[in-house]
């Protein structure tokens, strides 16, 4: 018997009962939409977070000081001398408020060498105005894009190069007075990054030491020469500094982030799985009903020569059609829902998009409390004032402007898998009703006449 004819018989019967078919398909649609929406949403989150982390460089090792002493130039030199280390970028960081025009903007003050800045920015310092600083003690500032064009000023430029702006440092300054810094360069918008580059004020290390009253670095980014040497190098650094430093590799950050995302995904998958299970029960129920209703018809078909497998196929194909249609519509609905979820979560976390929720998720991991000075330290850091570069902490509202944006991910494998699941679930649910139909004796089916 031609499969085309069987398909035709199946389809014809489904199209006869439009409402019932539509409702059956809807059950699959809901299950599949849930799966697609949730997985694409979570893999979207996962992509953004891992993307952010990977932008640090997979061979980067972040070394944060866990004491008040920080790292000396000697420490930096020692790091540079380690085998397999290609570069070390040392940072002095602090938090502050930047006053320009009528606006004040929370900023992270980063003391970094000019070459280190280039490295942090991915090789080149791209400026829209002015020039980069040289490594002198002069407090010349290169400011992030959002510092010059704060969102509070609706994108208006509040300061140009050549002008000076007031910088008030929170905590670190003994006098706690405002410092005037000339702005010599404005960075091009760097976009999303875990390091709030767009809302940072960069000065030379020497200048930062003066401004922040620090004689040592509080963070180092050590770059290993290749992936295979990262862990060994990290271990070596840990041995050198002992408890006075927290050593983190990008891989560790990634694995922590992905394990969190993994558990969220698992939870959502379970929810979606339950809805699919319910759909399967629904399909089985409706198909059993349909088989009962069509008892006579099945009897007639068997009387005129349809074999068991023909009848079985007719019903299995019906299940397959329901699964396929439910799958296709469900994937589309799921995609729509995923975008809706992104919109919803950006509403929930303010204009900064999903960044709020994702950074909250990540910063709950201890790895992000990598640095920062404790309050009551001899540097008189205010609570939460340390403002470590790598901590997109809750106090740094400025960080949100360079927050992570989430784009739901729809890899073709997910789509195919969803379609496969939809058809698979339907077929499994249809097996028993189809088997019941195929086993009907024509005599029993006809006797009821």
């Amino acid at each position: 018997m031609d499969l085309k004819d069987i398909f035709w018989l199946s389809y014809n019967d489904l199209s006869q009962k439009k409402v019932r078919t539509a409702l059956t398909i809807l059950m699959v649609v809901i299950g599949i939409a849930a799966i697609v929406a949730l997985t694409s949403f979570t893999s979207g989150i996962s992509n953004s977070i891992t993307g952010e982390l990977e932008s640090l460089g997979p061979t980067s090792i972040i070394v944060g000081s866990s004491t008040q002493l920080g790292f000396t130039q000697g420490d930096v030199n020692e790091m540079e001398a380690l085998p397999n280390v290609t570069s070390v970028t040392a940072l002095i960081t602090g938090a502050g408020t930047f006053y320009a025009g009528n606006q004040n903007t929370s900023v992270t003050v980063v003391g970094i060498s000019s070459s280190g800045l280039a490295q942090l920015l991915g090789g080149n310092v791209t400026l829209i105005q002015g020039s980069a600083y040289t490594d002198t003690i002069a407090p010349e500032a290169v400011i992030g894009y959002d510092v010059a064009f704060p969102s509070s000023a609706a994108g208006q430029q509040t300061v140009t190069t050549g002008q000076s702006a007031a910088l008030k440092l929170s905590g670190a300054s003994r006098n706690a007075s405002e410092i005037t810094v000339p702005v010599i360069g404005i960075l091009a918008s760097h976009g999303t990054s875990l390091i709030p580059i767009d809302s940072a004020v960069f000065v030379s290390v020497q200048a930062a030491g003066v401004l922040l009253h620090k004689t040592s670095y509080n963070e180092m980014v050590v770059t290993a020469d290749n992936l295979s040497s990262v862990n060994a190098t990290a271990a070596l650094i840990t041995t050198i500094f002992g408890s006075s430093a927290r050593v983190l590799t990008t891989a560790q950050l990634l694995s922590t982030a992905s394990s969190i995302i993994g558990s969220i995904t698992l939870l959502l998958a379970v929810i979606a799985g339950i809805s699919l299970f319910v759909a399967a029960i629904g399909i089985m129920n409706i198909m059993l009903m349909s088989v009962m209703e069509r008892t006579h018809e099945i009897g007639v078909l068997k009387a005129i020569g349809f074999k068991n497998r023909h009848v079985m196929l007719v019903f299995m194909l019906q299940a397959l059609i329901i699964g396929f249609m439910g799958g296709v519509i469900g994937i589309a609905a799921g995609a729509g829902t995923a975008y809706g979820l992104v919109g919803l979560s950006s509403l929930a976390s303010g204009p900064s998009g999903v960044q709020g929720s994702s950074s909250a998720g990540v910063s709950s991991s201890p790895t992000f409390a990598a640095s920062g000075y404790r309050s009551g330290s001899r540097f008189e850091s205010a609570p939460g004032g340390g403002g470590a570069v790598f901590a997109g902490g809750p106090t740094s509202s400025s960080a949100s402007s360079s927050g992570i944006s989430i784009k739901p991910a729809f890899p073709i494998t997910t789509i195919l898998l969803a379609l496969l699941i939809a058809m698979g679930v339907s077929v499994v649910a249809g097996l028993y009703p189809a088997w019941r139909a195929s086993r009907m004796e024509p005599i029993d089916a006809l006797r009821e006449l």
Partner: protein, 232 residues
């Protein structure tokens, strides 16, 4: 077609025992009949006489407890389900009291159904179905669904469906039971004509003694036994 054989259908010593609630009921007791090709025959008898059982056994959708049914010289009682399905598909046609057309399919597709399980091409199927429906006066009704057809028309579609695979034997279970007199007479007229034209044995079960006068042979059955057999 087995025109060289004297009988297209032979029922030999067929008995059928049902078990109902632990009690054995003899539906058929040692029934033997022989039917010729091209005959339009009737099985008549009161309710519970066993005429439907005989009909089902002739149609190979029920098996005798003992005895054998030969159709076109082939013994049917030992075939399994799929063999029987194929056998019915090639040798038998069915017409039911309630027409039993597939409601979702139009007249033509209903007639094509028995040909779907074989290797008949789409074009050939359509041609044969169309020709038969035209022959039965349904040329204007090809694309109509059963619910758009009258009872008489539906029964004629059913007759076309029974005929389309050029069977040896057509079994008709109370084919006029749901029809008015005029449509019923028409159906009988078709059966009579078809049996001669196509040399097919048609066996009709009925309790309407009025219509059996058109039949070549009338088998009276009572209490599971052949009471008498009248050849017109």
């Amino acid at each position: 077609m087995a025109t060289h054989q004297p009988y297209s259908v032979r029922v030999q010593n067929v008995s059928k025992v049902y078990k109902m609630g632990g009690i054995e009921v003899d539906a058929l007791k040692d029934v033997s009949i022989s039917l010729k090709s091209g005959e339009f025959d009737a099985i008549v008898g009161p309710s519970g006489s066993g005429k439907s059982t005989l009909m089902h056994i002739l149609g190979t959708i029920d098996k005798p407890t003992s005895g054998e049914v030969y159709i076109d010289g082939v013994a049917t009682s030992r075939m399994d389900g799929d063999e029987l399905a194929e056998f019915r598909n090639r040798k038998l046609g069915f017409v039911f009291q309630a027409y039993n057309l597939v409601t979702g399919l139009d007249a033509e597709k209903n007639v094509e159904l028995p040909l779907m399980t074989g290797n008949v091409s789409q074009g050939e199927r359509r041609k044969r179905a169309e020709a038969l429906l035209r022959h039965l006066g349904l040329g204007e009704r090809l694309g109509m669904r059963p619910n758009q057809l009258s009872g008489g028309e539906q029964q004629r579609v059913a007759i076309a469906r029974a005929l389309v695979n050029e069977p040896t034997l057509i079994l008709a279970d109370e084919p006029t039971g749901n029809l008015d007199t005029k449509s019923g007479d028409e159906v009988i007229k078709f059966f009579k004509a078809i049996s001669k034209e196509r040399n097919v044995t048609i066996v009709m079960v009925t309790h309407n003694l009025d219509i059996v006068k058109h039949c070549d042979r009338v088998i009276h059955i009572r209490d599971g036994r052949i009471e008498r057999e009248v050849v017109n």
